[in-house]
Amino acid sequence: MARIFAYIVHRSGVVDDSADELITTAMKIDRAVSPIAIVTGWGPDLDAVCESLRSSYCEIWKVGQEALAYPNAELVRQALAKTLPPKSILLVPHNHFGIDLSPGLSIQLNAAFVSDVVGIEGVDGESLRLVRQEFGGQVSAHVVCDISSGAVISVRPGAFKPEPSDSISGVVVDQSSAVGSLAARRRYVETIVAETGAVDITKHNVLVSIGRGIQEKENIALAEELAEELGAAVSCSRPVVDAKWLEKCRQVGSSGRTVKPKVYLALGISGAFQHLAGIKGNPFLIAINKNAKAPIFQVADVGIVDDILEFLPVLTEKVRELRAVAAK
């Protein structure tokens, strides 16, 4: 069985949650083999990351070069292609970086490629059986992947839960010398941070989040009333921002903000993974949606099949009544 590598995403010396999730993924592929963490970067940040990985990974390959200080997928791709042994299996989180890196890398490595994997069923000889989703999560598919010449597999963040492990003390191996020069046909310039806007939804403990089910801009008032009564903030999924009904700073999701509330009310949100990817910390999730088959009901703690435009006023009224009683 080939070696399994996990590409580690990090920022400012802090390791992304996906690092631990990829260990679970690797274990599902082959329980017997420990995955090797492979990290690119530069300087003290890289060192800090490698150090913190020692408690979860047995072996950490450090690939450091000044050009890699910012994770430019084009450069990382070249670096990994030079560093990874042939026929390796590389696991990458399926986020904006993974999307940028992995397909091209699979070609360079002459390896198979499967993206956005949500389940691993096992290996049969040289055949890896996986589960993906298609059509926005409406159906799942069993996929077989020929790993005889290696594979690059991007993994859906949050699909594999990190498992507690015994404490270990991993070894950092410096592979930086293998990299050599990198052709910089794509150059990182800068990051433009989104304006924070009126509200910072990441700071709220309770979020009243609306999706396409709100139907019209004017109906957002219904959510705002509830949010006000609860002392919560209104957030939303991407379609609401695309329709320009709410500002971008309120969007929860992989291309929006990442939130860690205690309670999350998902109103008229279907539950596409890009949205769920923005919800961390396992909040108490209450979902209300007209469509009983909406994927959100798979991940919610409590669900109600109802029209949010009818339900919201009723709930808001009850909160008001409760307050009125409490105030007396």
């Binding site: 019209e216 801009k217 004017e218 109906n219 008032a221 219904l222 329709a243 435009l309 006023p313």
Partner: protein, 702 residues
Amino acid sequence: MVGTYSPAQIADWLVPGRNLFLTIHVLGVACFAYIVVKRLVPLLRAERDFRFDRTLVRVGRVLKFWLGQWRHPRYKFAGALHILIFAGFILLAARAFAVLIVGVSENFVMPGLSGRFGHLYNIVTDYAATVVFLCMVVAAIRRLMFKPARYAVPARYGRGHAADAVFLLGLIATLMAADGVFAASDAAGHAHQGQPVEALAVLSLPWTLQALIGSMSMATLWILNVTAYLVHEVTFYFLLCYRPFGIQFHVETSLFSVYFAKLDRGTIKPVRWGVSDEHLDQLKSFGVKKFEDFTWKHMLDFYSCADCGRCADYCPANAAGRPLAPRFLTIKARDYAFQHYPVFGKAHDDEPLIGGIYSEDEIWSCTTCAACEEECPLLVEYVDKIVDLRRGMIDDGDVPQSLQKPLKALESRGNPYGKLEKQRADWAKTAEFRQTCCVKILDAKGGTDTLYFVDSITSYDDRMQSIGRSTARILDELGKDFGILGAVERDSGHEVRRFGEEMLFHALRDHNTDAIKASGVKHIVTADPHAYNALKHDYKDIPQVEHISQLIARGVKAGDLRFNPVKNEGNVYAYHDPCYLGRHNQVYDEPRSVLDAIPGLKRVEMKRSRDRSFCCGGGGLMLFYEPKEEQRMGVLRVRMAVEAGTNVMVTACPFCMVNIEDAIKVAGLEGKMSVMDLTELVDQQMARSTRAKESGTANCGG
């Protein structure tokens, strides 16, 4: 004429009076003719418009709307003013002509206006001139002091028009006064010399002036007379030549704008007159993109607008704060024509209208309710122009993203929601409903009398499906042998056409027409006024179509339908006229008669009802468009219901239902106001007969 002299006989000026005034006549008329010809230039470049048919009908409408000023009393005070002014002008025409000619031929008398009749005419016109004069004063005071809201010009459209209006009023008043002084000084001169002279009408303007100047010397009187005459001449010709530069051009063009006005309510003009559907592919461009793409009649409309603001006053989009006001659609186009086809100077053309004088949102904001067309005293048309402008935008691919999705869904699935065709009849298949009523799906075997054309919103929208079920039960109760097309039915395409997607409309229409013909039905009924209007006016060669309210009204009258009394006698009901049932098709009374037939039902009228009904917000594709507005039209309408003391609104259109229900929520009136469809109310109140239902379970619910 003073004493024995008339202005024609002036001999001691540079030029003899006769020649001078003749020259003024010739110059004046030539000037006017030149201006008119220049004004006609764009019309010669315009698209054709077939308006030369049905002469008798058109003449009749001229008598009613132009001569009879039929629309004017809709605004009582301004209407009365205008009727007086108009009548005055008509009466004074011969007199003015006579005064002009007198300067060239001193003894001129209009043929037919000599002797006693002539004297009577002069009395009448003395008063007419007085009335016109007074009206000018009143109108000017009204403009300057009372400033009616509909005349206001929002900043983005430029300066106010009051100065120009008052200038014109002043000119006309001057004309009347000059005529008055001329007649007064003439009579006074005669009186001075002891000659017999016709008495001026007592207390008229000329009479009053004569009282003032009667004691002046002959020399003064002569100066007054000649001066008044000159002033009259110059003012007359100045007005004549000035009118084509502004809103007063309607004095000349109104006759034509009324004569050539559109005869067929509820219809939409073809993409191009004279080009049949099969040949549309050959056109290089669809719709109106530049000014010259308008038809000559539409350009004539731009000239004919009197800037009265009645259209914008009744436009629901304007009331909601959308960037649309019909009045300014016209005024901006008129100004464009004046600028690009100037009387003096070269014409320059071919600028795009959208992004120029019009904005995209302005044109998409219109719900085609035609309240504007209903008010306009000059019968200026708007809906066709909006549709043509939309056709142009669609042709250029300039469609708001919010509309692209439903249009695409209409193309692939035949409904704007993107739902599956096979689910179109699901509303009739719910277990609960099937126990009360069986709805046949029509097939090619034929033999069914009536088609219930359901259309998309009633078929697919969870809430509106209840209208479908109520309608089916009513048809059952009326003993109608009916069925629906089911999965084969497509959207009627009513808004598709009115939003400018003509080819998609043809596809939907042709598909539905084939299905309707194949079903072999003899009658069509629908509960959706948009479908009703489409089937009645946009479709050809299909059986006669009626709205369900008409069937119900007939059934009530014939005693086929009886009602139980209302449970809650405290409810106050108001009927909201849907635009496409009411104004476009003039079905006002049948729904009301149905409501009045329900025992114990208390009904009031809202302000703005019948042909002045206030659009709920629009239907079809308008439900998907995201307008820029300050308020929802539906909210404004619901507030009118509150004002009328209603707590239950009744409407007869699923789109009105959607908009009003929404508005009730947004306005925070839940629990205080509710809305029902006529069919739901009838279904609820009708006393069901115990006649055994013929099961006819073949194709029941499909």
